[in-house]
């Protein structure tokens, strides 16, 4: 009976499980790395995690709406190459902010292309965004064929070491993202989003503008991918057309660990944000546990599989009773 309650709690509050995982990861990480909560370490961790957090937040919106976006890594790469190739190490601050604006437009446009094919032409999301991921990754490579370029050191410094009120910049960005999400959730659009993700046909029959909502989720995801690309460019300070390719799958994993169902309509953005932080912490734990380098990938992947399997295992025990 007690287990049953816990399970129903997990179903009603999908982010709760993400929170448990996050706390667990924080404790283990803290044991291995006692200065985890010191200002410097906190900041250096959070600025590394931020790009994937932003990406996961955008991915979560698409997945909530019943889709998936495989092309986000490509968009990150485009933004990274635009900034690194156009602004340059010697570029001015004005040029940087100008191209940041252009990057956001490009991200929204790339998302709109995805949205057009998925929502208006009704193509299957996985294969469509897979196809556009080639378009975007190819375009990034076209802009910057070889790794290089860069952004002014002052801008990179701004991202790396700004800590208003003694807290990492990333905290404020996350607060803004979550604040926006909580506002969106309470609007009519938020209701539409859950309705479309839950059952598009039923939503359509109750006069929800399904196509427009689906389209908008891809634009949001594209925009968040652009923000993520800007963050990772400021973090690395240089350009590489391949920088986003590994990030797509991480963003999806973060969403799922965060309790947002891939089938759509269940979950939120807070869970995926915690999921993204947990993923980063797992990476930390694996590097600080002094595991043989050769074993790192296996250990990390196994931990992630267990994290993904945990709700299912709990459920399995419940049904046995």
């Amino acid at each position: 009976m007690k287990r049953f309650r816990m399970n129903s709690l997990l179903t009603r509050r999908p982010a709760l499980f993400a929170l448990i995982l996050l706390v667990l990861a924080l404790i283990i990480n803290f044991i291995l790395q006692p200065n985890l909560f010191a200002g410097d370490t906190l900041n250096s961790n959070m600025r590394v995690f931020l790009p994937i957090i932003l990406l996961a937040a955008g991915q979560a919106v698409v997945i909530l709406g019943g889709g998936i976006d495989i092309s986000v890594g490509g968009i990150v790469s485009i933004v990274n190459t635009i900034l690194a190739a156009r602004v340059g190490l010697e570029g001015s601050t004005e040029a940087m902010w100008q191209y940041v604006g252009i990057s956001l437009l490009v991200g929204a446009l790339a998302g709109a292309i995805n949205g057009f094919f998925v929502a208006y032409l009704r193509l299957q999301p996985i294969i469509t965004t897979y196809a556009t991921s080639f378009l975007y990754a190819g375009f990034a490579l076209f802009i910057l064929p070889n790794p290089g370029g860069g952004i002014p050191a002052s801008i990179a410094e701004l991202y790396r070491n700004t800590s208003p009120l003694g807290l990492p910049l990333a905290f404020f960005v996350i607060a803004i993202v979550l604040g926006l999400w909580w506002y969106i959730q309470s609007t009519r659009y938020g209701n539409y989003l859950f309705a479309v993700g839950g059952k598009a046909q039923a939503a359509y029959e109750t006069a929800v503008p399904v196509t427009a909502v689906q389209f908008s989720t891809y634009v949001i995801s594209g925009l968040m991918a652009a923000f993520s690309g800007i963050a990772i460019t400021m973090l690395s300070g240089s350009g590489n057309a391949d920088i986003g390719s590994a990030m797509t799958l991480n963003s999806i994993t973060a969403v799922v660990i965060g309790g947002t169902a891939l089938s759509g309509g269940v979950g939120g953005v807070a869970g995926p944000v915690m999921g993204a932080i947990t993923l980063g912490l797992i990476q930390n734990i694996v590097s600080f546990a002094h595991i043989d380098t050769w074993w790192e990938t296996l250990v990390k992947a196994t931990i992630i599989v267990f994290a993904l399997a945990m709700p299912g295992i709990i459920n399995l025990f419940r049904r046995r009773e």
């Binding site: 196809a131 190819g138 891939l262 089938s263 990938t297 992630i304 599989v305 993904l308």
Partner: protein
């Protein structure tokens, strides 16, 4: 619905033929030399075999529905290729054991996928993605300190070489044809195939009509893993060397081949013939772009654009306003 339509496998094959004929007009194409044209066509078909076999398992899990997909096939290919390479170590008599081990490794990983998906209710996308990470980890460990091994002469003879000087048909192509017939028999002439389409269309009605959905799901993923294992065995027979990134490049093309071949990604409808045609189209496009000496960036964009056009033609889902 009485409008003119051709089936996706035929459309894909037709597209492949048209593209191939047009490619003769390229500056460095085969021009009017029929011998070279035939050799080129055979070579493209030979290369399509590997993608085609790896996409076979993908076809099965996609037909099984419920968002079925296998993202671990790429890493299974690499792992079994390494296993084959090490076990065979140049000796003909160890080829069959190596093939068996490859199939078993693949089936085991596939079974784990199926178990996670059926019993723990993890979505196939995430389960197989996580498994891919675990297998990649295993590959890194298996591969560390450089693997030593060698493919056997008989593998090269049977996979990479043509039948005989008089009949320059690649052996791999004959293997693929037999494989295709077996896949057709499996899907269209067995209870397994019938049940697979049944659970792909609607799991509830399938269950109510007496299909053991749990067993079917486990079997589909195990078989998909075993087929990816077979793919790994074939790939190493062709390349003769192993590397850590051997299988991954096949992963998404295998899904694309299934989609291009007209199999519904939502499950319940499709064929292996379609996947074969899809594998040929994708291999053709890739090799044409290579022949045209396009830079990598343009190649990727053209590939993405072509895929987008292909699925726009027949990958559309039912309209909301039925």
């Amino acid at each position: 619905m009485k409008r003119f339509s051709i089936s996706p496998p035929v459309a894909a094959l037709l597209l492949a033929v048209i593209l191939f004929v047009l490619s003769g007009l390229l500056p460095n194409g085969y021009g009017s030399d029929l011998d070279i044209a035939r050799a080129q066509a055979l070579n493209i078909l030979r290369l399509a075999v590997f993608l085609g076999v790896i996409a076979a398992g993908q076809t099965l899990v996609i037909i099984s529905g419920s968002e079925g997909i296998d993202l671990s096939s790429g890493s299974i290919v690499t792992l079994t290729a390494i296993a084959t390479y090490v076990i065979v170590n140049g000796a003909d008599e160890r080829v069959l054991p190596a093939l068996l081990v490859s199939l078993l490794i693949g089936a085991f990983i596939g079974f784990l996928n199926g178990a996670g998906i059926t019993f723990l209710k993890i979505s196939p996308f995430v389960m197989t993605l996580g498994m891919s990470g675990v297998v990649t980890g295993a590959i890194i460990i298996a591969n560390h300190g450089n693997v030593s091994g060698k493919v056997a002469p008989i593998m090269t003879r049977l996979i990479a070489r043509p039948l005989s000087p008089e009949f320059p048909i690649p052996n791999a192509l004959i293997i693929w044809l037999v494989f295709g017939i077996l896949m057709w028999l499996l899907l269209e002439r067995t209870t397994f195939g019938k049940n697979l389409f049944a659970i792909g269309t609607n799991r509830v009605t399938a269950k109510l009509s007496g299909v053991n959905v749990t067993a079917m799901n486990l079997a589909a993923y195990s078989l998909a893993g075993a087929l990816a294992g077979f793919g790994g065995f074939l790939v190493v027979g062709n390349t003769g060397v192993v590397m850590i990134q051997l299988g991954q490049p096949f992963l998404f093309p295998s899904i694309a081949a299934v989609a291009v071949g007209g199999t519904l990604l939502s499950g319940g409808k499709g064929s292996y013939w379609g996947t074969m045609a899809g594998a040929i189209v994708l291999t053709l496009i890739t090799s044409l772009l290579t022949t045209m000496q396009m830079p990598d960036s343009v190649r990727r964009m053209v590939l993405g654009g072509t895929l987008l056009i292909l699925i726009s033609i027949y990958g559309r889902q039912r309209s909301l306003r039925q």
